[in-house]
Amino acid sequence: MIDLSFLPESLRRQLADVGQVDVLVGIPSYNNARTIGHVVRAVQGGLARHFPEQRALLVNSDGGSTDGTPDVVRQASIASFETILAAHPLRAVHRIVTPYHGIPGKGSALRTVFAAAAVTGAKACAVVDSDLRSITPEWIELLLEPVLVQGLDFIAPLYHRHKYDGTITNSIVYPLTRALYGARVRQPIGGDFGFSGRLAEHYLTHDVWSSDVARYGIDIWMTTTAITGGYKIGQSFLGAKIHDAKDPSVDLSAMLMQVTGAVLSLMGVHAARWREVRASHPVPVFGFEYAVGLEPVPVNLARMLERFRTGARELGEIWQHTLHPATAREIAAVAAASDEEFAFPPALWVRTMYDFAVAHQHGRLNREHLLRSLTPLYLGRTAAFVVQTRESGAEEVEQILEELCLQFEREKPYLLERWDETGGGR
């Protein structure tokens, strides 16, 4: 039974006025006035061009923006449909701008979108971030069409990104999710997803809306829930992902703690499921893949190495509660190596991550402290990756990441052994 009592009365009335729809696009936002207009226009164009005969609804779920974001959403419109369409759209896109209720975060915003989908009986839904600069009308087709026409339940995004872009995804979230649950979803926390109405309803049956999922773990939660729920999943190639510059006050350590914490918490929830998974399988890809020109990314390698070595020097006492003694010794040896010989082998990184997963589940250390102590290690691994791929092209880098993923899969018996040894799985 789905509980929709959290929906405000005003939103219920608006949804009742709209009635049944076929497709729904949700845009969570918080102070995105600079970029959301472009996103709304792209969505509007995508719906008009690719779903002209479907009843469509756009829901902006806002977290109390003070920069006029809701006004931008209300006013944004394509000046002339002739620029993108051969004919004028048959149906107007309904638009609802609503504040969400619940604890602040993208999860609460998406809960409102799921509820709107359930109330309006939407068959296919998509959510896109409000800070996107590279979104085009085709994104809407690529996220909705596999659900509406092919009958899939969950579509994850597939982007072309610079080799140094999304390093947390590449070195932790993707390989870990793939090794645990067996599905090769390349961008599990991409932020832009397509999903079926029935999956939206399934999301609403979970009671996670007062937890960290509602704050910052919604992306990985949606992906993991879709995989573990046995839903039909796919990926759509969307091209390049360029978004507004992030708030510089959000530091790496906090970001890493939030993302990794969400993955590891889900690992505890789905332990029975991932224990049985022995290998990974590819996930169908939709869309036409093409090469994308990407801006070069400046890297401060010296600072990364310095932070890693400082961590190795100062955090030994904390790591001793987390790492296997053999892993701790290897890390100490890595830290002692010169810049020229610096390397953080994939096998060592995998065992480090598995040790952290066990420690996170086992609860010997305060979880926030545990995850914050991962930052220097992550920087060490990232520095090694930069050194290794300095001269590599996109394909070669992808091959290196594939090798890392396989290493995560090969070392899974080590995880199981440690998980059981310390009582994490019982």
């Binding site: 140094y164 872009d165 999304g166 510089p248 970001m255 400046p298 932070r307 305060n366 930052t375």
Partner: protein, 234 residues
């Protein structure tokens, strides 16, 4: 004269026997209460130690640094056993006081009243010390991690200062609970705390002016570097 002596002797002996007879039931009751205290204390000690072991109290102490502190003091007993033993002695001491009161001796009764009046203060002082110790460990670890991740110089020193400040504060609060020379403790604490802060400010501002300058410059450079660093980690 003989009669008087005999009468006096018999009288004294009677009085002695009367006193003994009057005292004996109390003594017996005191011994029984002591034995009961031993039994209740032992049962509670065993029960609490086992419960704490099941609740992984030893591991929690290990991760909170309590075991390490005990190790340094050459106390190798597991914390769960230690708490059990502490509880045993507390229960036994309480029963012992109750047993002594059964003797109906004036000054002992007064002592017991003072003991039970003071006991809550001892317990709250112990609690203050324990909370202070846990808080000091937690916050010093948080400070260490923040300093390492922010690339600040001497992260361990920062963590140590945080820990010492909280420990000194909790120690002063515990002494205040025990009403031990409260005014002296308060004055000493204010003077010591102020002196430490003033000393740190002077050391940082004068002695370590160059270090402070370099640290601030490095922080600003770091911010610039971070702005220039194009890494998008997610």
């Amino acid at each position: 004269m003989t009669a008087t002596f005999t009468e006096r002797l018999i009288g004294s002996l009677n009085a002695f026997f009367e006193t003994v007879l009057h005292f004996l039931p109390g003594l017996l009751a005191a011994i029984l209460i002591l034995l009961l205290g031993l039994l209740v204390g032992w049962v509670l000690k065993t029960l609490v130690s086992r419960l704490l072991r099941v609740a992984r109290f030893d591991r929690a102490c290990d991760s909170n640094g309590i075991t390490q502190v005990l190790d340094r003091a050459d106390i190798r007993t597991p914390p769960s056993t230690l708490v059990g033993k502490g509880l045993f002695w507390l229960v036994f001491a309480s029963f012992a006081m109750a047993g002594l009161s059964a003797l109906h001796v004036g000054f002992v009764n007064q002592l017991i009243a003072e003991f039970f009046f003071y006991l809550p203060r001892v317990l709250s002082a112990l609690l203050v010390l324990l909370v202070g110790f846990l808080l000091a460990n937690f916050l010093s670890r948080a400070a260490l991690l923040s300093a390492v991740n922010a690339g600040l110089p001497s992260p361990r020193l920062i963590a140590l200062v945080v820990k010492l400040l909280i420990l000194v504060l909790s120690f002063a609060m515990a002494l205040e609970q025990l009403r031990i020379a409260t005014s002296i403790v308060l004055a000493a604490f204010i003077i010591a705390f102020g002196a430490v802060m003033f000393g740190l400010a002077l050391a940082f501002g004068l002695g370590g002016r160059e270090v402070a300058k370099r640290a601030l410059e490095r922080q600003l450079d770091t911010r610039n570097d971070e702005a220039a660093d194009g890494f998008s980690h997610l």
